[in-house]
């Protein structure tokens, strides 16, 4: 059985994000560091757990982005994924999720993946679109926010638990091939092992130029980014740690909260 896990590289910290003064562009510090999207770590781990349970399973991992995005695929290989693919795309501060999904779908088409996993959303844009859109483009059934999955021994179907609001859970059965988006907390992602990291470092990733996959035009764009309005007073305390502590005590006592 072949599994494809789609992973995204995101900024290590939002400290590296700023807005230019006219408020027309998002600026990313060129020396910023990056890591794998947290939700995708859970997806990679889930694929590895499936491989451990069902012999003969292979896990491919795919990352879309500029040169630096290959690191996310290598990290997944460090966790134990068998093969890495890097779809090389231009550096952008915002990419239309439909374009990303189209790239993934065009790569995956005809490759007989029985299961495709993505994280439920990316921590940077919080959109949650690439998984379901990719599923639609590949005509695969899709269930989002999976907190539990169990593939049948004959690999024909998966019993999936989706997380709903307020702690409710929905149980459903999905016939394979299918795409699932993975919610955090489904497992505990393993740290890459030294041997896997070394193997990943030297491994040849399959590198595909995005243009070779004929991406569609953007259907949407980000304009006028800004810092959000504050919904509350947002009083910043100043001074030493001790001064701030005393200041907060006074404020809370004044408000009869302490």
């Amino acid at each position: 059985m072949e599994i494809l896990v789609c992973v995204k590289q995101v900024l290590e910290s939002w400290d590296s994000v700023g807005i230019d003064i006219p408020g027309s562009r998002i600026l990313i510090d060129p020396s910023a560091s990056y890591r794998m999207n947290l939700f995708d770590e859970f997806a990679v781990e889930e694929a590895l757990l499936i491989r451990e349970r069902l012999p003969g399973t292979k896990v491919d991992v795919l990352s879309v982005g500029p040169g630096r995005a290959a690191m996310a695929a290598r990290r997944a290989m460090g966790m134990g994924a068998d093969r890495g693919i890097h779809i090389v795309a231009r550096e952008e501060t915002y990419t239309d999720p439909f374009v990303i999904s189209s790239l993934i779908a065009r790569y995956a088409e005809g490759r007989q993946y029985r299961l495709i996993l993505t994280g439920v959303m990316a921590e940077d844009d919080l959109q949650g679109m690439v998984g379901p859109m990719t599923a639609q483009l590949l005509s695969l059934p899709c269930a989002t926010a999976a907190v539990r999955e169990r593939i049948s021994e004959d690999r024909s179907a998966a019993l999936v638990e989706r997380e709903l609001e307020g702690g409710f859970r929905e149980e459903l059965e999905v016939r394979l091939p299918a795409l699932l988006t993975i919610q955090s907390g489904i497992n505990r992602p393993r740290y890459p092992s030294l041997s896997n990291l070394l193997r990943a470092k030297g491994a040849q990733l399959e590198s595909v130029q995005a243009d070779a996959l004929c991406p569609p035009e953007n259907r949407q764009e980000v304009i006028r980014p800004a810092l959000p309005e504050k919904s509350r007073a947002a009083l910043f305390l100043e001074g030493t740690t001790e001064e701030k502590a005393k200041g907060l005590v006074a404020i809370l006592q004044q408000a009869h909260l302490l």
């Binding site: 926010a145 638990e161 609001e165 305390l237 001790e242 909260l257």
Partner: protein
């Protein structure tokens, strides 16, 4: 066909969800910018009663689509039926609540309709002659406006951002049609209700919440010590802390956990991503402690403390004791603030 704004109703276990009415409020805001009719679609095996309730809430006509066998939400069925109803139907804007149902089918629907798709929309604003949609990026640090470049546009609307419309003078009409349940690859089986929430959390007057910034499980001790300064206080956690097993998931505050509205909410080492904020926005007074001055949580706070919590919390506890703060449940000391 005249371009229109289409709303997709949400119901769960036989009840119309409040987000359905908020969606009508969103449509009202959108209609200020584009002159279009508003219509709602409701899918269910027995849609009549739900559709009448929706029609009574706003001057919106409801297409009550009866789908035999659709007794509970099924993402595949929704996607297939809505695709069929909306393809070529002249919808300019297709609006869906940003919920576990909405984000499940809306993106796939957009892909199928060759539509733009903008999720988790918090506001709608003019962009020249057309609307653009405001949503958060980078964990809430940036508010971005997204401009669709094509039609239709599928929008998922964040709960709690739009007011339901005031009671209308006349109600919408309900038209019942039928659609077949598509044969498919997904079968909804059952809904599991949540474990009982922590009663302490829902009744607490003060909630002290720990996020990823506490660094390690051992630092929860100071979170507990902080909570002990107050009467009727409870300790809670962000999703990350509960996923790591440092706190029981019954103590998770957020979109998929508990919603709390205590008099005082102290967020320690919490970045303020929208999923967490959704669970505590109604709090009376919010104090946040975080080392990142630009953390999104500070946009939702009354008092902002840019400090390492492992240094600040002990300093606060010390200052509270020295300042003669009343002990939990006890009489007031001579605080000297009157």
């Amino acid at each position: 066909m005249k371009p229109s704004i289409i709303l997709i109703a949400e119901h769960f276990q036989g009840r119309l969800m409040p987000v359905t009415f908020e969606l009508m409020g969103f449509a009202g805001e959108l209609r200020k910018l584009v002159q279009m009719d508003i219509r709602m679609i409701l899918l269910a095996d027995r849609p009549q009663r739900l559709a009448e309730e929706a029609a009574g809430a706003a001057e919106v006509d409801i297409a009550a689509v009866q789908v035999p066998g659709l007794s509970a939400y099924n993402g595949e069925a929704y996607l297939h039926i809505l695709k069929g109803l909306l393809h070529g139907a002249g919808a300019s804007y297709i609006c869906v609540p940003h919920t576990s149902q909405g984000w499940d089918f809306a993106p796939g629907l957009a892909a199928a309709l060759r539509a733009a798709c903008i999720t988790d929309v918090q506001a709608v604003e003019p962009d020249g002659e057309r609307p653009c949609f405001v949503r958060a990026l980078y964990g809430g640090k940036v508010a971005a406006r997204v401009r669709p470049n094509t039609e239709p546009t599928v929008v998922t609307v964040r709960p709690g951002c739009f007011r339901p419309p005031a009671r209308p003078i006349s109600t919408g009409t309900v038209i019942v049609t039928k659609a077949a349940f598509p044969p498919g690859m997904m079968q909804a089986m059952r809904i599991r209700p949540p474990e009982a929430g922590d009663p302490g959390l829902s009744q607490a007057r003060v909630v002290v919440a720990a996020g990823k910034g506490i660094g390690k499980k051992e630092n929860l001790a100071m979170i507990h010590q902080l909570a002990e300064l107050f009467s009727k206080a409870a300790v809670a956690g962000s999703r990350t802390v509960c996923d790591l097993g440092w706190l029981s998931s019954r103590l998770q505050v957020g979109l998929t956990g508990a919603t709390v509205a205590p008099d005082l909410y102290i967020a320690c080492g919490i970045s303020g991503a929208s999923q967490h904020v959704a669970g505590m926005r109604g709090s009376g007074f919010v104090v946040a402690v975080n080392t990142d001055r630009t953390a999104a949580i500070f946009n939702e706070s009354d008092v902002c403390v840019v400090e390492d919590l492992t240094r600040f919390i002990p300093a606060f506890i010390k200052a509270a004791a020295a300042g003669g703060a009343p002990r939990a449940g006890g009489a007031r000391g001579d605080c000297g603030t009157e």
